[in-house]
Structure formats: C-alpha cells, structure tokens
C-alpha cells in the first residue's frame, strides 16, 4: 500500500516539477507547483513527517502560492516558454537550451552518485523503527519540543528573519511618487523631534516662536 502511494506521489512530484520548468504561461507554472507541493506533502507523510507535511500544505501550497498568483495576475506574466533567444531560429538559442539541459543532466547524475553511491547501510532500509504514539517521531508535540529546547536559537533567528523579510517586502513593493524621490519636507527625522518646534522658520528670526 505504501509503495503504491509512493509511486503515485512521486509521479505527481516529478510531473509537477517538469510542468514548472516547461510550461509557457507563468500562471500554469504556479498551478503545476501547487500539484508538486501537495504530492510532496504526501511523500513527507510517508516519511512520518506529519507536522512538516501539514506546514507544507498550509504555508507553502496555501499562503506562498496565493502570493505568487497575486503577483502573476498583477504583473500579467507575458508568455514565454524558454525565451525567444532560446527557442528562436538561431543556432545559438537551441545550443544554450541544450547546454542547460546537459548541465542539469550532469548535475542529476552527480547527485545520484553522491546520494546513492555512499554505501550507507541505512539507505537500503526502511528507516529507523517507529512506534505510534502521542509524542512519536514527527508529530507536532515532538517538533515543538525540539524547537523550544534544542533549537531555540534557530527558532528565534528564523522569526527575526521573517520580520526582516516582511519589512523588506513592504519597502520594496511600496508605491513611489511620480517624481521618484520623496519630498524632504515629508520625511520625519529624529532631529525634528529633538528640536523645538518652529526652528529655522521666519518666526524664530523675529523672536516669536509659535
């Protein structure tokens, strides 16, 4: 049963990945990635990573993909498959594409040799013994305990990184003025809070501060 499920999910994972790489419309690429992510969550479940699978579906296939769909709809992704230069009539185009595919194939062979040729005895097995339970391997309780004890620093660093990324995303995507530069008068600096009000105005010159 689990091997049947594995092959179904693996076909979904790989076909979703192929779809992302070769589909012409960016919108379809995002949909192919959703198929890929959900199939990948099934593989995670087969590997007893229940919490990671749930996070994968909720955060990745839910939130991140919605962000992608919004941006694709906003930008209006112009259809390009492998690019005109790559699919164009010139011999250089197909050469570049072929080069990319050869490079990817070489990378695949290298990875397979590195991963499967290690001679680790555990690779051929089905993994460590597993017994179901409330605090078993991969459950939310197990992951939460690890995150709040052994990996507390990593947890905090990740949350800090998320804050930085959220602020950076807002700053990058905010609407700019027509002129490009912001008016100096509108920018509130710390100096303005320290100075008494009316500093540098004509009223100060005649000795009448408001």
């Amino acid at each position: 049963m689990s091997s049947v499920l594995f092959f179904i999910a693996a076909v979904g994972v790989i076909s979703g990945a192929v779809g992302v790489v070769i589909l012409r419309d960016p919108f379809y690429c995002v949909l192919a990635l959703v198929v890929h992510l959900i199939s990948l969550a099934v593989l995670f479940l087969l590997l007893r990573a229940e919490f990671v699978a749930a996070v994968q579906v909720v955060v990745y296939a839910g939130a991140v993909m919605v962000l992608y769909v919004f941006v694709v709809a906003y930008v209006g992704g112009d259809s390009e498959a492998m690019g005109e230069r790559l699919r164009g009539p010139g011999p250089a185009g197909s050469g570049l594409r072929l080069g990319g595919a050869i490079l990817g194939g070489a990378l695949l062979v290298e990875l397979l040799i590195a991963l499967l040729g290690t001679g680790l005895s555990g690779i051929e097995g089905r993994g460590a013994p597993y017994s179901p339970g409330a605090q078993a391997f991969g459950t939310p309780a197990y992951i939460g305990k690890l995150l709040l004890t052994r990996f507390l620093l990593g947890f905090e660093v990740a949350s800090f990184l998320l804050v930085i990324a959220a602020v950076g995303g807002v700053v990058l995507a905010r609407r700019r003025r027509e002129g490009g530069q912001q008016d100096e008068a509108d920018v509130l600096t710390p100096l303005q809070l320290l100075r008494p009000s009316g500093t540098g105005t004509m009223a100060e010159g005649v000795g009448r501060r408001p």
Partner: protein, 99 residues
C-alpha cells in the same frame, strides 16, 4: 519503500529546478524553480531524518521553508518594483544594477 527511492526523487527534483533556473528568463518562473530546488533539498533532509529516526532533519526542513518564504517575499517585492518602473520583466534585460 527504501529511503533510496526518496533520495532519487529528491535528486530528480533538484536537477529539474536547476535546469529551470538556468534556462527560464521570466524572474517569476526562476523563483518558482528555486522553490523546486529547495523542495528537493527538503525531501532529502526529511528522508535522512527518517533514516536515523532523528528529528534534526525535520527542524532544518522547517527552517528551509522559512527561508524560502522570506526569499519569495523579497523576490516578489523586487518583481513588483521592477514592474512599477516599467522595466522589462526578463532576467536577460536586468543585468545592469543601475536603477
């Protein structure tokens, strides 16, 4: 299924993502292919975690997901900023750093 099958799938997904990053020109799709590579790495991490019966790999996979979410946030913000400036959305055209 033995762990080797999962590792093979993760290697295939990683290589496909690398091909996409090399050959595609739309930065949105390049980001999607980057996600593929991260997911391939995540699958390998979780497979090894299962192999040893140790939760460290799953924690690292969660951290990778966090970093991927941050990367998507910044990358999409940059794409929106590029679009607002009416520049072409194409990685070949965007090779100069000057605004």
């Amino acid at each position: 299924m033995s762990i080797a099958w999962y590792l093979a799938v993760s290697a295939i997904v990683f290589a496909l993502g690398a091909i996409g990053v090399i050959t595609r020109r739309n930065p949105l799709v390049v980001l999607l292919c980057l996600e593929l590579m991260l997911n391939g790495a995540n699958l390998a991490l979780i497979a090894f975690s299962r192999m040893w019966g140790n939760g460290d790999g799953q924690i690292l996979a969660l951290v990778v997901m966090t970093v991927a979410a941050c990367e998507v946030c910044i990358g999409l913000g940059m794409i929106v900023a590029i679009y607002r400036r009416n520049l072409p959305i194409d990685v070949d055209e965007m090779r100069e750093l000057q605004g």
